[in-house]
Symmetry: C4
Subunit: 178 residues, 4 copies
C-alpha cells in the first residue's frame, strides 16, 4: 500500500468507527418500559412511542447514509487534506444525531422536529460537500460507474432538501399543537 | 484487493465495531452494589441478581452469535447490495440487545422476558436471512466446507426457535407470578 | 491473506475494539467536581479522590495488559476455535472492568476492593489461559523470541497472583475500617 | 506485512478507535433542551450555551489533533516499545477530554477552565513527546517531508502553550467573576 491509499483507509476506518458507535449509542439510551404485567406491555411501550419511533427513523436514515458513503468510497482512490477536513465536518453531523434523536423523542412540540431536522440537514449538506469535492478534485477511480455516483448525489440532495423543509414544518406543528 | 473484497472488509469491520461497542455497553450499565461491609457483599450482589444474570446470558448469546458470524464470513468471498441491507437489519437487532437486556433485568414479571425474547428472535431471524442469502446467491467461497455452513444454520435456527418459544412463555410466567 | 490469518486479524481487531471502548468508558463516568471557586478546586477534586484513583489504576493495568497482548499477538501466526473461545472469555473480563472500577471508587469499605480484585483476577486468569493455549497448541510463529513470551507469562502470572491476594485483603480492610 | 509494520497498524488502529469513541461520547452527554414551544427554542438552547460551546471547542481541537496525528503517522514506518508507551500516555489524555469538557460546560467559574486547560495541556505535551521520539529514534520514513513534520511540531507546541497559559487565566477569571 502506498502512503496515499493508507491515508484513505485510515480516514474511512475512523469514520466507520464513529458511525458504528453513534448507531449503537442511539439504542442504548432508549427508555426501559415500566410494565405492571405482560398484558399491559403494549401500552407501556406506547407510552414511550415517540422515543422508539425517533430511534427507528434515525437508525434507518443513518443506515441509508452509511450505505451511500460505502458505495461512494469503494470508488474513491485517494484522499487529500480538504477531503479529510470535509469528512470531519460530516462526522460532526454524525455525532450530533443521538442528541438530536433524543431531543426529537423527548420534546413533544414542534421544537424537537426543528432540532432534529436541522441536525439532519447539516449532515446531508456535509455529505453533499464531500461528494462534490470527490467528483471535482478527481479523487474518484477512473473506472467508477457514473450512474452510481449521480444516484448517490441525487439521493443525498433529495433527503437533505426533505429535512430542510421539515424545519419550517416544525414551527407550523408547534403553532398547531398549542 | 479488488473493490469487491474491499467492500466486504468494510462491511465486516463495521459490523464488528457495532457488536464490540454493544458488548461493552452491556456491562457498563450494570448496577454498582450498595454494600454496608464486605461480609454482606454476596447479599448486595444478589439484590441485583436478575440484572447480572441478564448481562451474562446476553454476553454468552452474543459471543456465540459473533463466533458463528466469524466462522461464516471467513468463507464469504464477496458482498452485494442485498447482503449489505440484510447485514444492517442484523445490526438493528444487535444494537437493541443492551436495551432488551436492561429490560429483562429490571422488569421482574414476564414482560421483561417477552421484550428480551422478541429482540433475540428478531436478531436470530436476521442472521438466518443473511445465511440464506449468502448460500443462495453464491457469495460463498467454493472451497467453503459445507458441514460448517450447515452447522451454523442449524445452530442459528435452533436458538431463534428457542427464543421465539420464550415469547409465549413470558405471558405464562406473567400470569403465574401474579 | 489466507482464511486463517484473516480470521486472526478479525479476532485481534474485535478484541482491540472492545478494549478501546472499555478504556474510553472508564473515564466518561468520572464525576464532575462541584467547585465553588477556583481556589477550592483541589478540595473538590479530593472529595472524589477514590474514584479518580480507581480510574488511574484501571487505566494503567489495562494499558499494561493491552501492551502484553500486543507483544504476544505480533508472534501468533494463526487462530483456532479454542483460541477464539478463550479470547471471548478474556473479553468478558475486560468489559467488566468499568463496572468493577466504579464499584472500587464508590464502595468505600473493603467490598469495593474485593469486587475489583476478583474482576482483575478473572481477567488475569483468562489471559494466562490464552497464553498457555497459544504456546501449547503451536499457534506461535516459530521465530517468536522465547524470552519475550516467558516475560509476558511471568508478568501475567505475577499481576494475577497480586490481585488474587487482594481479595482476602479486602475482607481484612473491611474489618479494620469498621 | 512484517511483524513490525503489523504492530504499527494495530497501534494506530487502537488509537483511532479510542479517539472515535471519545469524539462520539462528547456529543452523547449534551443536555436535551427543555422547550415550552418552538418560538422559545433559541432561549432553551442558550440556557445550555456553555455546554454546547464546550462541546464544539473540544470537537474542533480533537479533530485538528487527529488530523495532525494522521499526517504524522502516514510517514512513520515502524514502532518500538517506547512509542507504544508514549502513545498510551497520549490516549490517557484523549480519554479524559469528555470529562474535562463536561466540567468546562458545567462549572461556570474559572475552575472549569482550569480543569479543561490542564487536560488539554497534558494531551498536547504527550503529543509533543510522541513527535520528539518519532523524529529522534529514526522511526520516520526517510522520504517523509521535513516541512510537514516541523509544521505539526510547531502547531502542537503552539496549542499546548496556549492551553498551558489558560490555566492561570482560569484563576484570574475565578477572582473576576466573584
Amino acid at each position: 500500500m502506498t502512503a496515499k491509499t493508507h491515508s484513505l483507509e485510515r480516514m474511512i476506518f475512523f469514520s466507520d468507527a464513529v458511525i458504528a458507535i453513534m448507531l449503537t449509542l442511539l439504542a442504548v439510551e432508549l427508555p426501559v418500559p415500566e410494565v405492571p404485567d405482560p398484558l399491559h406491555l403494549w401500552g407501556a411501550l406506547a407510552a414511550h412511542g415517540s422515543e422508539y419511533i425517533a430511534f427507528l427513523i434515525s437508525f434507518c436514515v443513518i443506515a441509508a447514509t452509511w450505505t451511500a458513503h460505502h458505495m461512494l468510497f469503494v470508488h474513491v482512490s485517494r484522499t487529500d487534506p480538504q477531503l479529510i477536513t470535509l469528512n470531519l465536518l460530516a462526522l460532526l453531523g454524525y455525532v450530533l444525531i443521538p442528541w438530536a434523536s433524543k431531543t426529537l423523542g423527548k420534546v413533544p412540540n414542534g421544537a424537537g422536529v426543528i432540532v432534529y431536522a436541522t441536525a439532519m440537514t447539516f449532515l446531508g449538506a456535509t455529505m453533499l460537500l464531500v461528494l462534490r469535492h470527490v467528483v471535482r478534485s478527481g479523487l474518484l477511480d477512473p473506472t467508477a460507474p457514473r450512474g452510481v455516483i449521480s444516484g448517490i448525489q441525487a439521493w443525498s440532495a433529495m433527503t437533505t432538501i426533505m429535512f430542510a423543509l421539515s424545519i419550517p414544518a416544525g414551527f407550523v406543528l408547534g403553532r398547531w399543537t398549542m
